[in-house]
């Protein structure tokens, strides 16, 4: 058009070439920024206990972190749209409780309805979806604050769970219900495979699917996303639903792993701290729009290793929670130093 734009055009052409490779390499380094920390942890674990660096121990770690990992995927999605969901721990407890109650005989403190385990799993996922839908509608359509809505929801769900189990433990779960949490092929737990697949699928979805990209747009700037024609409300509600379904699935894995459902699963264990910590350590921003599944997965692995090393190092049971919390706080600081200003906010 003019000499000015001619010049800028040349500039554009110049920078278009060969630049994307550099940014791609850079982002990969950032995404994998926790790997050195994981290596250090593995070295520490090896020094602490000779049983650490064994296939069976790692298989155990895999099984332990799977339930947490699936829930972290759910929370990360919700964080990415700029929301937050404290009630995932309630869903993590209530969904398997409700399903098991409908499934096991009255002798094992069930309802006596004796539902088939397959139907029970469907119900478990439906319970998750329903909780997510209620949260989503209250927050998005009702314009309520996500923190207080999901905090209230946590209390409701934990109360329902208590009401159902009445201080007992639901046991005698059928094999099909335990399959996901307990089954192993060779030394590889099914739950680990499923969790890895979910992480991979979520990562690819976020990167290469239009809805995944819309999640980043909504979390980064919802008004701009709306102006670009994205159905912001629908995406946000949908993500709350998916997040809760994943938490219910995590609860199913945990129930299968211990082959029982107790009143303490979820809320009373306080797993939501670990869920948030894993996501944030992995670089998922609490402000929305920033983060990815590679980071979230490494956050989960990091927490799993820390927990395992503490178990193996024979820290007294009375002190283990204090040490665990302190290590997580330290990991948050470390993630911020490694990830720069953007991380851990």
């Amino acid at each position: 058009m003019t000499d000015i734009s001619e010049r800028s055009r040349a500039e554009v052409e110049a920078v278009l070439q060969g630049r994307s490779r550099r940014t791609a390499a850079f982002s990969l380094v950032r995404e994998a920024s926790l790997i050195p920390v994981l290596v250090v942890l593995i070295v520490v674990g090896t020094l602490v206990n000779s049983a650490f660096l064994t296939v069976s121990n790692f298989s155990g770690i895999g099984q332990q972190v799977s339930a947490l990992g699936v829930t972290v995927v759910g929370e990360s999605l919700i964080l990415l749209i700029g929301g937050m969901d404290l009630s995932l721990e309630g869903t993590y407890g209530l969904a398997p409780t409700a399903a098991a109650w409908l499934m096991v005989p009255a002798l094992a403190f069930g309802s006596g309805a004796m539902l088939s385990p397959y139907l029970a799993i469907v119900i478990l996922l439906a319970v998750g979806a329903a909780i997510g839908l209620v949260n989503g509608l209250l927050i998005v359509k009702g314009r309520l604050n996500g923190f207080i809505v999901t905090l209230g929801m946590t209390i409701v769900l934990a109360g329902l769970q208590q009401g159902i189990v009445k201080g007992n433990t639901l046991f005698n779960l059928p094999a099909a219900f335990n399959y996901l949490g307990a089954k192993e092929y060779g030394q590889v737990p099914v739950s680990l495979i499923v969790t890895a697949v979910i992480f991979l699928a979520a990562g690819l979805f976020l990167r290469y699917h239009r809805v995944g990209r819309a999640i980043y747009a909504v979390g980064g700037n919802s008004e701009a996303a709306r102006a670009a024609g994205i159905k912001v409300d629908r995406i946000r509600i949908g993500v709350y639903v998916v997040g809760s379904v994943l938490a219910a699935l995590g609860g199913l894995m945990e129930a299968g792993r211990v082959s029982a459902v107790t009143g303490t699963q979820g809320y009373q264990e306080g797993i939501i701290f670990a869920v948030f910590a894993a996501a944030v350590i992995g670089g998922v921003s609490l402000r929305g729009g920033r983060g990815n599944m590679v980071g979230a997965a490494s956050g989960v692995v990091l927490l799993g290793l820390v927990q395992n090393i503490l178990d193996l190092s024979q820290v007294s049971n009375y002190w283990i929670e204090a040490v665990d919390g302190a290590v997580i706080l330290f990991a948050l600081l470390l993630a911020r130093i490694i990830g720069g200003e953007a991380a851990a906010e």
Binding site: T2, S8, Y208, Y216
Partner: protein, 540 residues
């Protein structure tokens, strides 16, 4: 670049920057800037987006440290970066974006950070008295006990200036202070600046508007590619010379793209706004009727609260309407449904690009193609980043978007380039109608003409209509006709370009009506409250 004659004129400049260098990553933002501000003078600093203005302001206000060079106040070196209180006593900056705390009162904001009182206790009465005194001394009319949330943009600016004066600052940086002000408020601001300058305050005035610089500055400096390329008393300068210095090549007049060939009254179709009414915070609308035929470029202007941006937002679908109807090519657009309006063919360039224009963490290509993901997506909604880049590359070329690559986050770009990305998003879908609100606000002179020329070209080539809502009168040069809103109603219309500046201003104030060149079937003239121009040609 070199020491100007100015710094030699007076022995102790209020602020002096010498040999300032600053880089961000591989970008050299400033390369050896020498600048001095004299007490009792106003220096206008102009330059294109990305020339280094904001960086220089940040260094002069103690936000960034310079890589090399020195800042001196009244001849003595600047305080260390870690002492913001020390900086504030020497220099105060009124930023583009308001820095007042909305929940606090005017008085608290004026004394923010150092409330009068003893031992950590706030002496409220003294604070209010002192704030009132400052307001009275400088002739600002503002109740100091009201919360800042209820203030207008202009009033918040007064609070910020008062804060500077309360800290005893004799040196003021104004960073595009008129960007969000109405014309009358701009005049009042100028009067205040003149008053400050005449009482011996040194002012650095940063603006995109050369005419403002000519109006209130004694000196002007032009920054380009991180260097001061021109510094001189305003009396020795001309607009052409300054534009030439900004662009760095032979000057080119502002927008030469006159109105294109008269759009033939093409069949039926285009945009029909039919008796639309809505109450809205940005200005309500009352029975507004308007048409934009395919290929036609219609400007809408008026005062800030006249409903200009509301009308545009209603058409774009980002604001609902209460009664009436909006149709595009005969199809009704559902109120407040931006997603449906987009699919119906309405491209949208929002007023506040920070808020609605782009997602700052996402890349150029992703932002620019956000409106066409459904076109780019393959089966089941999967999307290849390469497809986005391929779709964006030609747009980036036509709009001359300068970035380090199409993946660079838009938040890192300069204001003008951010706006171009927003424009790309609007035109990527080959819309039937482009709704643009103040598209050149905060954009430098050269990018401004490029943007307007591109909008004109797109509409001319594609036969899309353009609804251009703006208070920037020079933007209207590309329009075929201009509708003026007063208090939410169509007041009058100008049908024969070129549109006289004075006539337009008079019309926006509700003083004089538009040109009489009014063909065809205007039943009720330029109507008081009725529909001014509904030709009654409904959709087929």
């Amino acid at each position: 670049m070199t020491d100007s004659a100015l710094s030699a004129a007076s022995p102790a400049p209020a602020v002096e920057a010498a040999g300032i260098h600053k880089h961000f990553g591989s970008t050299q933002a400033l390369r050896g800037v020498d600048l001095s501000l004299q007490p009792g003078r106003c220096l206008g600093l102009v330059g294109r987006n990305g020339a280094g203005k904001s960086t220089l302001v940040s260094i002069l206000s103690g936000i960034y440290a310079a890589d090399a060079g020195q800042v001196r106040f009244d001849g003595s070196p600047a305080p260390p970066l870690g002492a913001p209180g020390e900086w504030r006593r020497r220099i105060a900056t009124v930023f583009q974006h308001s820095m007042v705390v909305p929940g606090l009162t005017v008085a608290e904001n004026v004394f923010l950070g150092h409330h009068p009182g003893r031992g950590g206790l706030v002496d409220w009465r003294r604070m209010r008295e002192q704030a009132r005194q400052i307001m009275a001394d400088w002739g600002f009319h503002l109740d100091v006990s009201q919360p800042c949330a209820s203030l207008s943009v202009e009033q918040r600016q007064i609070v910020e200036i008062a804060r500077a004066l309360a800290a005893g600052t004799r040196c003021l940086l104004l960073d595009e202070p008129t960007a969000a002000l109405e014309r009358a408020a701009v005049q009042r601001l100028f009067a205040r600046v003149r008053q400050l300058v005449s009482s011996g305050v040194a002012v650095l005035y940063i603006s995109h508007h050369l005419e403002e610089v000519f109006e209130i500055c004694q000196d002007a400096a032009v920054i380009r590619d991180g260097q001061l390329v021109l510094t001189a008393p305003i009396t020795e300068l001309s607009t052409e010379r300054m534009v030439a210095a900004m662009v760095g090549a032979s000057p080119r007049g502002p927008v030469v793209t006159g109105p294109a060939a008269k759009p033939e009254p093409v069949s039926q179709g285009g945009l029909v706004v039919d008796h639309v009414s809505v109450r809205a915070p940005r200005g309500s609308l009352r029975h507004v009727s308007l048409e934009v035929r395919p290929g036609e470029r219609v400007g809408v202007t008026g005062l800030l609260s006249a409903g200009v941006s509301t009308l545009a937002r209603v058409v774009a679908g980002t604001e609902p309407y209460e009664s009436g109807e909006v149709r595009l090519d005969g199809r009704r657009l559902a109120p407040g449904r931006r997603d449906l309006a987009l699919r119906a063919g309405v491209g949208y360039i929002p007023e506040d690009r920070q808020a609605e224009g782009f997602v700052s963490l996402l890349g150029v290509a992703e932002n620019g193609t956000m409106s066409i993901v459904d076109w780019l997506a393959r089966r089941l909604g999967w999307l290849r980043p390469r497809a986005r880049a391929a779709a964006m590359a030609p747009l980036a070329r036509t709009l001359s978007i300068v970035s380090s690559g199409l993946g660079q986050p838009v938040g890192e770009l300069s204001g003008g380039n951010q706006q171009k990305v927003t424009v790309a998003r609007a035109i990527a879908r080959r819309p039937r109608l482009i709704v643009a609100i103040a598209p050149t606000r905060g954009v430098d002179v050269a990018s401004k003409s490029l943007l307007l020329a591109e909008l004109a070209a797109v509409t001319a080539e594609s036969g899309a209509g353009l609804l251009l809502a703006t208070d920037e009168l020079s933007d209207l040069d590309i329009c075929d006709r201009v509708v003026v809103l007063v208090r939410g109603e169509i007041f009058t219309e100008f049908r024969a370009p070129p549109f006289g500046r004075e006539a337009l201003i008079a019309a926006t104030e509700g003083l004089a009506r538009g040109d009489s060149a009014r063909p065809d079937s205007d039943s009720n003239g330029s109507g008081q409250s009725g529909p001014a121009d509904s030709d009654g040609q409904g959709p087929a």
